[in-house]
Subunit: 314 residues, 2 copies
């Protein structure tokens, strides 16, 4: 039983148990949405990072502090939300003052940078696990869901893809080259696309953040929208450093995770109408189509999924 | 370095980092409060349960499903909030279908009972850890904080105390007696005092839920209010079953945790003005006083704290 099947079978039924009218959007998107009075929707998302699964056992506490908030905030970016605050539930093996000092410094820097205040939390003893819930707001009804993509629209991504995936094998380098250091920054200090997401409210028909890999996350978006799509691997935005370091750069851009860029759909003329400061952050990589499934340019067969699944059957 | 010192030193500074005007109340109370438009405040709280720390390794998944939501919802009760929804971040060692079936059944029952819809979540692989964040709402400004107690007011608790603490040594009984079974129910299936909390909005000057023990939690309330207090151990509400089973019933009622009753302060005439259906749920156990610290009736020395601290120095 895979992660998604597990959620569908055991937990989705609970999302409708009380039918609370204020819960506008439950599980299945980047964030949930709670209607909170006239004019404003609360947008929130929870993410857990487990040591040894989501970050190495000896990972720098400063970098972990930044990363855990960046990863969580990326879901707010994908909804186009204005950041407000977050909660932190921490399970720690012990109260190591050096570790805590570093973690809190990295988290504090990210907190200021993203405009997310710590609003509450819980600290318990056990194996190192971090759960962060981020809160943002949007004008009522304006959150960008995964489910709005329509055939004929174009598919765009922000930034460059594959860099964080390439960083994984460089994490232990003592003296990285300049290009290796550029690649490592994408992994250690991802920047959630909050301002871009906000600029796309009312413009993008659907959005998802790329955490599990472009193919896996775009597939979620297309499935939620009940449509299919086609992308051209030759049009993927790749950094010069990635091209220089890896012969399989395109494969990393398609399948590796942790980039925290946005993948969006919108009508082509909406892209052209965007201010150049926004448009320049986006690369057109394909289009939305009627037949379900995700295909490569020039190929009629749908792609195999290769996203990360914690409980995937091997 | 204890848990509270750890929070004060490393995390409280982050709660003011962005100074977001919508965060009305940050860490330190039962819940945080986010102002969300005209007329409504969002009240939320996050709690983590770790296997082997907060529940035994072989604990029934059905009971765990109920308990984890009840424990989290109790913080909403302490703020007087109307329940809306919750998120569930689960770290699981494996996808055991029997376990998941039981857990989801217990959680689902609690979800319907408390009126809390599942709004989102995350499932990751690792040692069994559950983090739940509950969301409720109150009319703007009407959440019951810990900080409003005033000298001269009375201190009340709901229900009976000490039962859950007495249950700890009965958990492995194959055939509990009727009285033992009554005690066990308090531990396995606590009922957050949501309706009572809502009835106390605009009436109670301060409230806290009793999760770490009466003395520890009342002490938090008095400290947050900048006052002291005096309680009479002879007036603590004890169940007949507890009195029958334990010679140290009063000690359990004072120091044992997991009861999830409410401890509140209010002017004596406000108690008398309450409908009898509400008043009958409360027992007066003492009064708020000017001098800091918590004392027993007839004793001038402040009590030693004995609440649970995950990282307490031994």
């Amino acid at each position: 039983m895979g992660e998604f099947e597990l959620i569908r079978r055991y937990f989705l039924p609970l999302s409708r148990s009380g039918k609370h009218p204020a819960v506008l959007l439950g599980p299945g998107d980047d964030c949930a949405i709670q209607r909170v009075g006239e004019g404003l929707d609360l947008v929130f998302s929870v993410d857990t990072l487990v040591q040894g699964v989501h970050f190495p056992a000896n990972y720098s506490p400063e970098k972990l502090g930044w990363r855990c908030l960046a990863v969580a905030a990326s879901d707010l970016a994908a909804m186009g939300a204005d950041p407000v605050c977050f909660t932190l539930a921490m399970t720690l093996p012990d109260a190591d003052a050096n570790w805590l000092h570093g973690f809190s410094a990295g988290l504090s820097e990210a907190s200021r940078e993203f405009g997310l205040d710590l609003a509450g939390g819980d600290i318990t003893k056990g194996p190192l696990t971090l759960t962060l819930q981020v809160h943002g707001t949007v004008p009522s009804g304006s959150a960008i869901k995964r489910s709005g993509a329509k055939p004929g629209e174009i598919i765009c991504v922000s930034g460059t893809l594959g860099d964080a995936g390439a960083a994984l094998e460089l994490l232990d380098l003592a003296l990285p080259t300049r290009q290796q250091a550029q690649i490592l920054t994408h992994y250690h200090a991802p920047r959630p696309m909050l301002a871009l997401g906000q600029s796309l409210r009312g413009v993008a028909s659907a959005a998802v953040d790329i955490s599990d890999g472009l193919i896996a996350d775009l597939d979620h978006l297309l499935e939620a929208s009940g449509v299919g799509g086609r992308i051209d691997p030759d049009r993927l935005p790749l950094s010069d450093a990635l091209i220089a370091l890896r012969a399989d750069a395109t494969d990393l851009a398609l399948y590796a995770g942790d980039d925290y860029q946005l993948c969006i759909t919108l009508p082509e003329n909406s892209l052209e109408a965007l201010p150049s400061s926004v448009r320049d952050q986006l690369t057109v990589i394909g289009q939305v189509e009627d037949p379900k499934g995700l295909r490569f340019h020039g190929d009629s067969r749908p792609l195999r999924k290769r996203g990360y699944d914690h409980f995937g059957s091997q």
